[in-house]
Amino acid sequence: MPSMKTLPILQDHGQPQRLSGKPGQRSLWQSIQELEGRSSGRAGEFAAGAAEVPPELSRRSFLQILGASAALAGLGACQPPREKIVPYVKDPKEDRPGKRFHYATALALDGYATGLVLAASDGRPVKVEGNPLHPTNQGASSAWDQAALLDLYDPQRAKGIWRRGQPLSWRGFLAEVQKLARAHDADGGAKLAFLVAPDASPLLAELRRRLSTRFPRARFLAWAPATADHAAEGARIAFGRPVDMHLRLDPARVLLSLDADFLAGHGESLRLTREFARHREPGAEMNRLYVAEAAMTVTGAAADHRLRMRPSEVAGFARAVAAHLGALPGAEALEDPARDRAARVVAADLARNRGRSVVTAGERQPAAVHALAHAMNAALGNVGTTVVYTKPVLGDATPTAAALAELAKAIQAGQVDTLVVTAWNPVYAAPAGLDLGALLAKVPNAIYHSLRDDETSRRCSWRVAASHPFESWGDARARDGSVSLVQPVIAPLYESVNAADLFAAFLEQGDKGAFQHLRDYWQARSGLQGQAFQARWEGWLTRGLVPGTAEPADGPALNAAAVAAAARSPAPKGEGLELALAPSYGVFDGRFATNAWLQELPDPITKVTWDNPAYLSEATARRLGLADGQVATLTLQGRSVQAPVAVMPGHADDCVTLALGYGRSDGSATSKGVGVDAYELRTAPDAWFAVGLGVAPGKGKHKFAVTQGHLSMEGRPLALDFDAQEWAHGHGGHELEAQRGPVPSAQPPVDYSKEDYKWGMSVDLSRCTGCNACVVACQEENNIPVVGAEQVAKGRNMAWLRIDRYFAGPAADPQTVGQPVMCQHCETAPCEYVCPVNATVHSPEGLNEMVYNRCVGTRYCSNNCPYKVRRFNFLDWRGEVPAVQTMLFNPDVTVRSRGVMEKCTYCVQRIERARIDARVAGKKIEFVQSACQQACPAEAIVFGNLNDKASKVARLQEDARRYDLLHDLGTRPRTTYLARIRNPNPDLA
């Protein structure tokens, strides 16, 4: 902090000493007031150093302390202790209103962190970006990472500390916890239990270690709804101990996914997407992906061969492939001859690429399939090249499926007096039949620490509001083990408690503060003192990464016999259909159900928003007499839910897929009653799929809010794709010739070659997986409103950037291609000449600009836009924005009013920011990224200056795969596409 000296601050309780950064280095956090520059008046009251306490107490200092103590005595009661925030005495030169500061931090989902950089403007975070230095995401970010910002500013977050409906002050809470803790000291914490969320935080692990030292008999259970211990169990079978399996896709040429959606979801999907996408360009280095799955996933949509099968059939298929590979003794032929042939061909393809192939099993598959995948990788010699094993990163907070049952048993036996729950919403997400709500109500002191009040908080006697990760100090580990420090970028918006502070409270160190705990821990771990540690600490904070913390590769020995034994376990048999459960791409396991951005995010495959239809195949729907949108009763083991069905192209037959996380009975208006609660059908043994589902057609009809109702290209050259082989023979090139090049136009072409900049974009359909990261990034960057399910159904979705999804081929087993579409910035734009008031005009650099102030809303431009990328504010989508949510808005982008047209601007605010910086530096703009490009894990979107022939986008526009969307209209779009190339196996044609 530039203007701060190291101030020896009063060592009163609740006022821990705060060590600050070096001058000129902004690695630590500030208050909003500081960054907004509002503090200058107050700060100027005292001259520098006037507030310092001299070594010996003078009269003046004594009175000062006396006064301060009196003034501060009451303060501690209303707020948890915070590290002392000292305002600037003088504003630093570089801090001006509107100036962006970037802070490296991290965000963990179910224990695995993504490295992030938060952009803060005027003291408030306004944009989430991936940390380019972080190994697991390399600058990319997911839709969930992006949407975390909306959670931060959610006015409906939990606030304060409540015990049996009575508010508690932080100090009161600490006192109460101290009493509790001391009461548990007597029996070593036998009646104390912790139900924690999976996490790999070294600090939290250390606190838990200290807790278990104090309370040796306390129970520590880790649990999360969307994880199961299948992978760990599989590793235990194969290697005798749990290990984490990491994929290295750069060298991989042939990939087999056994129901693994590794290109989306949590963990390492961002890195995997990047590595996978890098090898999707035609040529010898192109990879080939086989996916065996039931419902079409992002990974399945990216596959060259998608082998649709029910989840229970995947094990059999894996066995067959393993047998062909020689990884499993005794080859058995599969019943279905086509699938048997597929297994043989896949095995042969894998075998041809020894050491350059990957077999990966999905979290939802049973342990045996994971074990088989390990065996196959070992047999293929992939270990060490494409597959790396490490010690598990989650450690003691590894979630287990049995955790809740164990807890329930303990509560029933009266062995739990105090329960601390930091896991997310166990009452809602617990397996069916486990009435955890009633049990929690029995626990005398159930302390629930959560970001929001939900189903669980109603049942717990204590509710402790959790601080958002963007408000807290902490640390986190990525799946590869890399540690990131989590630093706050804003003071907690509401009275709330950090997880570390909560654990520390049981150690009677709650008033020390998470910052001090964190620093002490890392100082002890580094073994450094004073300035040496300070320098290193600041380096970690600045880079967002503690170097050398990635787990080293492990070399576990495979127990082939155990794998073979496990693989023999029979497939589940039963009457009826199969139910498959899956985390949602929007709300995940339900924890993002209160996030409107994610609720309105279209499903990557079916484009459904605000809903979780029961997906099934066309043939199954026909057989059951179900129409799209018809409500059906799904019955499994005596439990049933009413769910509207939807036909998903390419879904496996005789199987119904339902996403988790919907149908919440509590939470905000955003989550309540949206969709169907799939947890009602979920049992502990059959966490992800179960046989024996009954489906009875019901009477009701449900209208899904879809953003794309028509899934066929109607034979039009829109999202183009070619097989690698035909591409290699020059087919496709001819077809693309017709989709690019000059077209006669009545509008005379403008010469842009004299301009410094000619902005353009390239979208590579071969790389794009349709993961939606760009969609949320755009929404966040450009202040795009959400409109709600009803308005989406009416066709008024506001997304500037959408991903069109087209299917081709037989509906049962189609090919699919996704196509991100945003404003194409046509040089001869049809929207411009029809606007009666000149509200949409062309910039000299070729941007198609929208002048919101001038727009009167005739919507003529939208009618004349062949790409239909313009979005109209049909109503006042925002209404009265709660004060806290106004902080969410990107101050560089106008918030549009009712009656105004809007659309993609190529992030013109970023261009202008870069231009200002370049001008100040006396240079030309060298680097500018659009928000969608920055988030994209696949590097599919490239934006830049076409007049700079060395730029990547200029090179890509000369690519052989380049074509223009609706080229024959002569719009001369600045956004161009690169055709998708598929790499099918000719043997499987």
Binding site: G795, P836, G857, Y867, F872, L875, L966
Partner: protein, 467 residues
Amino acid sequence: MTPPAASAVHRDPLAETPLILGHPSDLQVNDALLKPILDPNRGWKVLAGLAAAGTGLLVLGITVTLARGIGMWGNNQPVGWGYGIINFVWWIGIGHAGTLISAILLLFQQKWRTSINRFAEAMTIFAVMQAGLFPLIHTGRPWLAIYWLFPYPNTMGIWPNFKSPLIWDVFAVSTYFTISLLFWFIGLIPDLAALRDSATSRVQRMAYGVFALGWRGSARHWHHYKIAYLILAALSTPLVLSVHSIVSFDFAVSQLPGWHTTIFPPYFVAGAVLSGFAMVLTLMIPTRKAFRFENLVTERHLENMAKVMLVTSMIVSYGYLLENFMAWYGGSAYEAHLFFKTRLTGPYAPIYFMMIAFNVLVPQTFWWKRARTSLTWLFIASILVNVGMWAERFVIIVVSLHRDFLPSSWGMFFPTWVDWSIYIGTISFFSLLFLLFLRFVPSVAISEVKELNHEMRHGQAGTGGHA
């Protein structure tokens, strides 16, 4: 006045029916035409009450739209224009008959126009008033659109975009309305003077006196009046062609399949005349009966209008045919898809076939004299044609927009209650204005009828020109 109907029955079947039956005297003409004003019928109040109530719907619809936004309508992405623009084009089209009858038929010396021109002009003005509402209320921010669409010097230094057909619309429609209003008013002056002179109450005398502009019927007055009337007729004539041509440019200038069509200007004008004449018939048939104008607005008038409808319907049919031909001949896959798939088999196909049935087939019955002279059929047919013309605008606007280039953006349009209440509201408002017109202004041009009467009596006009 009881017309001696017998004389009309016994006549040569090949000879044309005279334009005025029964050789009434000037006094009889005066009495007959002023009676609805000076001695109103009780039924008027009931109708006016109904129309006023319906106008309430319009007020409600517009209020809701202004308060909440266009989102209260069914419009969406991709259907940016819905009922607002459909109704605009429909009303503008209806507003064509008046000027055509008054101006063009005057210039061509079609004497039969005399009994119906006032009526048709009033209808035009009221229809254009309805039409004029829509471009304004359909915008997202009407409070700005109301003046930003006009070129006025301003401190921002911004002009409207003269390349945009919407700007041409503003000029075309406002010019048309102004000229039509003046034309109608000038024609009214002698009759207003007659009303002033026959009025029984002082208030009426004052009111009509003000609007009569001191008309005394001197030869000098008549001289100037005739010249002014003729000049305005000459000015209006090109407007008949230009207004709907320019309205059609809203579509033709764009690049959307189904809009991007060069046949649109003539085809729109013909459609406008078709719907305009249909609306005149719809209004004329009951009025004529209620006010007992049968001897002034004769079957021949109605028959002539049916003939005009037949001709314009065939031009419109040709337009339909050529659109389809060009969709095939042009070779654009997008256009072919719209014309041969979306329109014929898409979700709005019934509306397309309704348009063909009502605009192409129904007027074909007018080849038969029985159809042209059957009041019931004329009335039904005129309503069907207006429904058909509304369907045509629906097909052009909604059907073209709802499935355009990228199938990913295809969507459906469903009107809301606000859409309907505004539409029904404009019909009511139109009816209300028309009822007020019938009540307070001579609905048939008295002076012109008298003039024609005299011409006929002195054998100058004979049967009154060619129809």
